[in-house]
């Protein structure tokens, strides 16, 4: 657990409070690709003691896997019953790549298989990140949105956004400047790059070139703005980094990086996709099942048990989920102990979505995702509750999440593989019981 003393060395960028009517909210999205396997066909003993009806959370409701989060129940909204109906409505494959592509977009991808899926619209983490750092929100974050771990977030143009796959990449890319003079000279470089772009641009007038050059020029501007903001930033740099995000140390450092990104006010939205190639031998000591089969399965990549819905696969996924939730619970402790602007804590201004790309290891099942929201008091979300959301779509949950951060979002996703909106059945507005107030 973080010591509160660390925070005292920090000075947070107060620019986030420039709109006095709004708190500097952030979103952290955790996505697992593989769901939580049922023991014997249900999750008894793993997630919640009951998933029926709405009720106030208490410690007794938290089963073994979810138990590490019990101490944060007051900030939690555990959501069950939501359907990832977009695939049923819009079509598409049940393979990992297709499911992943739909998980945060609520739309079907287009343009091929694992390597080339695109959308016409952003994923929810990007949508909210753009809002929080855009015209309607708080402009002065260095990055509107950041992806770490795997790559299945989609940008505002629907192109898949690469994730920074290792702590070293995260640290060096996001925290890597060494001195003010470095930042200044880099800014000079960006100015000259932009001028060269303007010089050659008239010679390259055509539709395809314009697309490339527009993106290039925007990126140069974005880097320049990032440099400008970082020059005014006083912030703690993580002090070590692994070059492999799929190790125990790597995952821990990713959580540290998330804390630092929030604390440094680098971004409004972070999406972290857990690695499918990680091995978890170190969790064997925690396993209630000490069989050799579990030991072997923990030593294989995490993707494997997602195809093994026997008891061994379920045990591995339970162990891994519980470990991740222990890390998340620690992160929330740190956010709760760290001061933010206006007398609030970082947690007061943070919303966390923890979800999966599938409900369990049978790739076709699309209901009963292991998911919950953690929300600080300044978010527009009701917490301390289990919400039975049977009948609601994942799209509606995303609308709710967006409105939970005050984004005036009436519908989300619902586009088919041709980019045509077919999602009327998926989008019936927010799930109102989760919101303090509906945002118009």
């Amino acid at each position: 657990m973080a010591s509160a003393g660390v925070a005292s060395a920090w000075s947070f960028n107060p620019l986030g409070a420039q709109d006095p009517s709004r708190k500097p909210l952030r979103l952290i999205t955790f996505v697992d690709h593989y769901g939580l396997s049922p023991h014997g066909g249900d999750r008894t003993g793993q997630w919640m003691t009951s998933e029926s009806g709405d009720f106030a959370l208490s410690e007794e409701h938290f089963e073994w896997v979810l138990a590490p989060m019990a101490r944060h129940q007051a900030h939690m909204a555990v959501i069950t019953g939501v359907w990832q109906r977009s695939r049923a409505v819009l079509g598409g494959s049940a393979a990992h790549f297709a499911v992943n592509a739909q998980a945060l977009t609520g739309s079907r991808g287009r343009g091929g298989r694992s390597s080339g899926i695109r959308h016409d619209h952003p994923s929810i983490d990007v949508h909210i990140g753009e809002f929080l750092s855009g015209d309607y929100g708080l402009r002065d974050r260095v990055y509107p949105h950041v992806r770490i771990g795997g790559s299945f977030s989609y940008g505002t143009d629907g192109a898949k956004l690469g994730g920074l796959g290792s702590p070293r990449a995260v640290y060096s890319s996001l925290f890597g400047a060494t001195s003010l003079v470095d930042l200044q000279t880099q800014a000079l470089v960006m100015e000259q790059v932009q001028r060269q772009l303007q010089t050659i641009r008239p010679q390259l007038v055509n539709a395809n070139a314009a697309t490339m050059l527009d993106g290039y020029a925007s990126s140069v501007d974005a880097v320049a703005r990032e440099l400008e903001l970082r020059a005014d930033l006083v912030c703690e740099q993580p002090d070590s980094s692994s070059n492999n995000g799929a190790t125990e140390a790597g995952v821990r450092q990713m959580f540290t990086a998330i804390y630092n990104m929030i604390g440094c006010d680098l971004t409004s939205s972070i999406a972290y996709a857990f690695s499918g190639s990680q091995r978890h031998q170190f969790l064997f000591a925690e396993s209630p099942d000490r069989s050799g089969a579990v030991r072997t399965a923990l030593g294989r990549s995490y993707h494997n048990p997602s195809h093994n819905n026997g008891t061994v696969g379920a045990m591995v996924q339970s162990l891994v989920y519980r470990w991740r939730l222990e890390l998340l619970a620690d992160l929330i402790d740190r956010l709760a102990e760290t001061p933010d602007v206006g007398g609030d804590t970082l947690l007061d201004n943070t919303v966390i979505l923890f979800t999966s790309a599938m409900s369990n290891n049978t790739h076709g099942t699309r209901q009963g995702y292991p998911q919950f929201i953690v929300a600080g008091r300044n978010a527009n979300l009701n917490t301390g509750m289990h919400f039975d959301c049977t009948g609601h779509s994942n799209n509606e949950l995303f609308v709710t999440l967006a409105q939970g951060l005050f984004a005036p979002t009436a519908r989300f996703g619902g586009y088919n593989g041709s980019g045509v909106y077919r999602g009327a059945a998926l989008n019936n507005g927010p799930i109102e019981k989760l919101l303090k107030e509906v945002v118009s």
């Binding site: 598409g92 470095d182 800014a187 001028r195 060269q196 008239p202 990032e226 020059a231 099942t365």
Partner: protein, 552 residues
Amino acid sequence: MSSTMYVRGSALLLALTISSCSGEIAEPTGSVPDVPEGHTPGEGEGRVPEEEEPSFIPQASDDRYSPLARVTNTEFRTAVEQVLALTEEEAAALSGITLAPEQESQGLFNAANQQSVSQLSLTTFAQLASTAADALTAGELEDARTRLECGDQTEAECARLFGERLMRSAYRETFDASDQERLTELLTETETLIGGEIESAALDPELDATKLFFLRMRIRSVAQLATLAPKFLLLVERGEVGEVADGEEEQERPLLPHEIANRLSFFLVGSPPDASLRAAEAELTSSTARLEYANAHLTNDASVNGIVNTLIGWLDIREDVDAAALRKLRAYLATWVRDARPFGDLYEGQVEVEHADETTSMEPFGVLGLRAVIASHTSSPTPSFINRGEFIVEKLLCGELPEDLPDAALPEDAVDPVDVFEVHATSPCATCHHVFDNYGAALQRFDVDSNLYDPSNDWLGSEFDLYPVGDVEGVVRDPATLGARMAASQQARRCMTELWYRNAVRRDLLPGAVDEEAIDELFEAWMASGDDSLVSLIRQIVVAEDFVTLRL
């Protein structure tokens, strides 16, 4: 947790930043007249409004246009190493810097229509360039001055001349007055910053440590400018403007000599043209000259390494694959390329295969028997034939799979390979699985750890009737019989032709028949040559007219 305070707060920065740029990026304007051949911009022409600027490429309103390509991450690394003349050790030190992920397109990362210059890619490119530049100023001041060929010049003058040399090399095209202006402005403003820093920090400008610190800063900034600039990152192809009859749409243009040099060098060695190729670029419109260049380079280490890198990407080798297994695969591919082995050896050459009891045996499996390939297409402790089959059909054979899989789940009790395989054979799963399962099943003798099962322990103990993909069909039993079909296949060779054609033109195939026809012609020429090695195919591509043609 210890911490490092890494940036000082300051109000000093950035009146100089982008606010001083020329403003919003204009949308593409309407039709812009072409400039006659031989036109040389006169004094002051660089200031004319955009709509009056010369266009070297006609307007295109759809995506049927050869797009603007960007160097790949691998090419960026290689090119930075080349233009900064880093040693092998210095270049190796850069491997720890992770660049932004790239978009793959059917095994290639250089498809221009999938590429972008993102904020993240710029940031990581800048980081790599900066770190690479630091290698030039490592050690003491005198070491750095020697390395940078400073002679008697001041550090500021030395940096300017170094920057000019670097940009001439990095930009591949003529280093023009505009580039000179960019460099001069950068260094002038950098000097102002340096002066301010020396004054505010009360530094002694005559100390070697001070001189070295600021020399390093200057070199970093010119290295970043040279490598982040569009003339370095983008592979601009404008082609030679030809005459087009009224009412007709221009379909293609011959590439300009320096553009051919670019294509040739990036295609064959994965880096910008070196000085000798640039000097000879006027001759490259001749297929004979291109063939000579190819013959001179195709079997050298840089070229073989570049070709192997492309094949590794095509084989979709996972990043976390065992290092020893990857070395073994690289060695096999390098030998296959360098020795101009027959195409069939790719799939039925003798390779050392590993067994669960840690013994090995020599088997005629080609790459289909190598751990790096098998492990990269192993996804579960239960069958991997889905992944393996998809990989073979789509990647190795360029076969088409149905677009949509049926919306149905596996039964919950389908947990072992035989169960799953049998379930797949039933409706609705069979819609897709009958296409690729048997291809993957032929590789099921490899277990989840990529070891070859004891041959007496036949998985399923069956024969697998392949769904026809081109001329690949019939019954197979194991990797050897599958490999033999692949080795004999024209479909597999045609697929390889498509891969290397796309690699050469750096884009996905255009709609319509034009690219398909070009690939067919190349394939036929390759087969007619009597040499079906990969280097023979690459030679055919290099001498083809399509290699020196820009599609419009």
